[in-house]
């Protein structure tokens, strides 16, 4: 089982935090700090497996991590997961992010934290691996995003458009537009 998935940058700032086991808030932050501390010390040419820190729990847990440019992707797993398999899973996840965001970079994760969560939800559910086929994941995420967009998305855009129109002062529109010889009568529009 995957106990936690942490993504943070080279300075330890969290970019995505997902725990699949309950930890109190302050403990979560402590775990993030401790994990960053352990992982950032590692040289680039050592193996990608670390025996876990003391906080996230005992002897059965390992930290499996990958370092991509400015980001660390850390999966904290127990012995029921294959270490090499998880390494591949991290690769699949990152490639999926790449497909969804088109050449993903750290800024994408910063500003679209919710979207990253949704993508992750299609890969790992309840601490277990759900789907590993990249195309499948991308297709499902795309469809859901389209549904969201049709409703106006997170920023609730149509509502804003409606309220913008609502706030327009319609009675101010001139009723008679006189441009020399042409006389156009503008119909009376009821305020809406």
């Amino acid at each position: 089982m995957i106990k936690a998935i942490l993504i943070f940058n080279n300075h330890g700032k969290p970019r995505l935090i997902r725990f699949y086991q309950y930890f109190a808030e302050d403990l979560q932050q402590q775990i993030i700090r401790e994990t960053f501390h352990l992982v950032s010390k590692r040289d680039d040419n050592v193996c990608n497996f670390l025996e876990g820190g003391s906080l996230i729990g005992g002897s059965d847990y390992k930290l499996i991590y990958r370092h991509y440019a400015t980001l660390y992707f850390v999966f904290c797993v127990d012995s029921s997961e294959s270490e090499l398999g998880i390494l591949d899973l991290i690769q699949v996840f990152v490639e999926t992010l790449d497909k969804c965001f088109e050449n993903v970079c750290e800024l994408d994760l910063i500003f679209h934290m919710d979207k990253v969560h949704y993508i992750l939800q299609e890969v790992v559910m309840g601490g277990m691996v759900l789907e590993t086929n990249m195309n499948e994941i991308v297709a499902q995420v795309e469809l859901q995003n389209r549904m969201e967009k049709s409703e106006g998305g997170l920023s609730a855009a149509p509502a804003r458009a409606v309220s913008a129109v609502k706030n327009m002062n319609l009675p101010e529109i001139p009723r008679n537009i006189n441009i020399g010889d042409i006389n156009i009568k503008v119909p009376s529009l009821s305020p809406f």
Binding site: Q29, S82, L84, D88, F111, V129, T132, N133, Q140, M147
Partner: protein, 710 residues
């Protein structure tokens, strides 16, 4: 009130903060705005606000006031609201809050929603943080979805079922009928999660395990198709068809084949096929091979297959990729107990891994090396391990030192080698050895009678070089105290020190800041013992009397008692400070306690301490020689008028075990010098352990025949 700012704007604003305080201020302002927006029950902007709240939660700020809002979002009709609401529920809520139960009804409705993505969201949430009550209520819905033909939902339902089973194990039976045709699915996602579900059920219940054994042929067939199917762009990862599914199936096969001959036999072929045909140039191939090896080792496979597996691991050890080496070492550690000889063949590679730069690999290699040590390779292995001990990080030194001691004890080819090895450990990693190693070492040295001179000379030299490592210093001072006469008498191979030099060294220990109180105790006792082995008794008397006013209570007590030994009980001194007899190693804590009390704190003459309880095998009574004789010494001199008119010499008892059922006796000879021809009376106090409990016996002998003392 103006529309709440968008998530993006908030993130942008927070990123401009230059200090932690500035960031905190911005966030507090935004939280206040969000709170008032929540109070206004604004439906349009609620999703935006919760998204911002989740972002702030990730940064570490409290967000619990948004919990109820998440529930409102879940209840909304819009997909956008539900999506962020469920995410918020998973991140902010857990079963410890009572609020979460309010979700149950929403989830139930959503599980039956017309849109599959809403159903998916509900399954996801239930599978992540559903409590036992929620699981009980909704298990029926999950079971229904497990039978649907929609693969998107089916795979989520399978993982949700795993969570339900983990929370409420009694419900496992409920999912059994739905599993019937899970494996005939074509969709790999469903296959994958189904195998996870089956694995979970098999691991939890032996009945399920035997029930699912019949699936082995089907699993083998699926695996075969994956390997033979050729290129399939959908599931391809670096040229291998769905490695994740292959690994999962291999793991399930492992569980099914364990301790079952028939299943294991059915798997033999496919395992051999995977092991020989998988391409190893990329990580994915190695992941599959690794899983195959673990499966082969765990089931009842034939020996040819096992050898193949270990050879694969051996090849892994030579791989350039560190991850592969690490994984190989881990699995070899698991198999070294069962297939010891096969692993031995790779010993040299494993020993090379000790020199690797990677800390995780070094640790694994060290553990494995200790597991591989045996009588044949002890010398070579020990050389490597001692070299490792020299150069490794401090975090390894304690474990390595203990490992070396254990290995040396089991397989030492000669006593001299053993002592040399111990010396090497003490000098290189002396401050890292465990506390109980000092008494064990002292006992070992005592028992190697012919090595006493050699040992004390080497220890003395080590002491001259370095007095900072306490275990080394303690062992050395004890030895010098015991065998100091050998040290100066010319029995050593090299130039021997003179008595004053030795005393200088020991006194140096007493005054040095590096010595711990325990070490000082050792040093003082050693000096005292030398009073019967060296001739410079006056110097020793002076030293001992100085420490009679030491601030350290333990040191003071010792010094005072030793002083008394010089003044009033001088005639007993030789007998008391005599060389220690050979100690037999008893089970568990026996020797530790003997040595600790004998070597470190010889009880003073006037002290009637009880000896520590000694563990002993059933039906045998053991007596502790040292203490017995000390006690009897005390009790002999009991004339109130002039107690010390006798001089006693106690010889060693014939044995320290009194056999049970009157099968034998123990005799001890006591020579009495009785110049004043006083009447002999003897009071004996015997303390021993019988069947685990301490027993005390007092006896008085008054009927010595008059000829013995007249």
């Amino acid at each position: 009130m103006p529309a709440p700012i968008r998530l993006r704007e908030l993130i942008r604003t927070i990123r401009t903060a230059r200090t932690q305080a500035e960031e905190r201020e911005m966030i507090q302002k935004e939280c206040a705005a969000i709170r008032s927006s929540f109070r206004e029950e604004d439906n349009t902007y609620r999703c935006r606000n919760v998204a911002k709240l989740l972002y702030m939660h990730m940064l570490g700020y409290p967000a619990h006031f948004g919990q109820l809002e998440c529930l409102k979002l879940i209840a909304s009709q819009k997909f956008t609201d539900k999506r962020i609401g469920y995410l918020g529920a998973m991140l902010l809520l857990d079963e410890r809050q009572d609020v979460h139960l309010l979700m149950t009804n929403c989830i139930k409705n959503d599980l039956n929603h017309s849109t599959q993505y809403v159903q998916g969201l509900a399954l996801c949430t239930l599978g992540c943080m559903g409590s036992s009550e929620m699981c009980r209520d909704l298990a029926g819905e999950v079971e229904k979805l497990l039978k649907t033909s929609n693969s998107y939902l089916r795979k989520k339902a399978a993982l949700c079922a795993v969570h339900v089973i983990r929370k409420v194990p009694e419900l496992m039976e409920m999912f059994l009928p739905a599993t019937k045709n899970l494996l005939s699915e074509k969709n790999h996602g469903v296959l994958h999660t189904s195998v996870v579900l089956l694995t979970e059920m098999c691991e939890r219940s032996p009945d399920m395990l035997s029930h699912f054994r019949k699936l082995v042929p089907q699993l083998v067939r699926i695996l075969k198709n994956l390997i033979m199917s050729g290129y399939s762009p959908e599931h391809d990862v670096s040229g291998i068809s769905d490695p994740f599914l292959q690994v999962r199936i291999l793991r399930l096969l492992r569980i099914l084949g364990r301790s079952d001959d028939d299943s294991s036999e059915a798997m033999n072929d496919i395992l051999a096929q995977v092991a020989t045909n998988t391409e190893t140039s990329k990580n994915v191939g190695n992941a599959i091979l690794y899983e195959t090896v673990l499966t082969i080792m765990d089931i009842k496979s034939e020996s040819g297959l096992r050898v193949l597996a270990i050879n694969i691991l051996g090849r892994f050890l030579l791989n350039n990729d560190k991850n592969i080496r690490y994984v190989a070492l881990t699995s070899l550690l698991k198999t070294v107990q069962t297939d010891h000889n096969a692993v031995q063949r790779h010993r040299s590679t494993i020993v090379d891994c000790l020199k690797d730069l990677d800390v995780s690999i070094k640790r694994r290699a060290m553990e494995l090396s200790f597991a591989l040590v045996n009588g044949n390779n002890i010398r070579g292995m020990m050389k490597e391990l001692l070299y490792f001990l020299d150069s490794c990080d401090p975090e390894f030194k304690a474990d390595c030192a203990s490992g070396v001691f254990l290995a040396a004890e089991k397989y030492a080819p000669s006593k001299r080698w053993h002592i040399d090895t111990i010396m090497r450990v003490l000098t290189t990693a002396g401050s890292y050895v465990r506390d109980d190693s000092v008494p064990n070492l002292i006992q070992l040295i005592t028992n190697s009678v012919e090595m006493h001179a050699y040992t004390v000379q080497r220890l003395y030299k080590a002491l001259l070089d370095d007095i900072s490592q306490q275990p080394l210093v303690q062992v050395s001072s004890w030895c010098i105290g015991e065998y100091g006469d050998l040290l100066v008498s010319g029995q050593c191979e090299e130039e021997e020190p003179i008595q004053d030099e030795v005393l200088d060294v020991l006194e140096g220990l007493l005054v040095s800041n590096l010595s711990t109180p325990v070490t000082r105790g050792y040093a003082l006792t050693a000096i005292m013992k030398l009073s019967t082995r060296f001739s410079s008794v006056n110097r020793i008397k002076k030293v001992v009397s100085i420490y009679g006013s030491s601030i350290d209570v333990e040191l003071q007590q010792r010094a005072v008692e030793y002083n008394a030994l010089f003044k009033k009980y001088d005639h007993m001194r030789p007998a008391l400070l005599e060389r220690m007899p050979i100690m037999e190693k008893t089970a568990t804590n026996g020797p530790t306690e003997i040595v600790q009390t004998n070597g470190e704190t010889e009880p003073s003459v006037l002290d009637t301490k009880h000896p520590p309880p000694v563990t002993q095998p059933a039906n045998q009574v053991r007596t502790l020689k040292q203490f017995w004789y000390l006690h009897s010494v005390l009790c002999c001199c009991s004339d109130p008028v002039s107690p010390w008119t006798f001089q006693l010499q106690l010889l060693s008892p014939s044995s320290n075990v009194v056999p049970a059922l009157n099968q034998g006796t123990v005799t001890q000879v006591i020579r009495v010098l009785n110049p004043q021809k006083q009447q002999l009376r003897m009071r004996i106090k015997l303390t021993y352990t019988h069947k685990g409990s301490p027993v005390q016996d007092l006896a008085e002998v008054n009927n010595f025949p008059p000829q013995s003392w007249q």
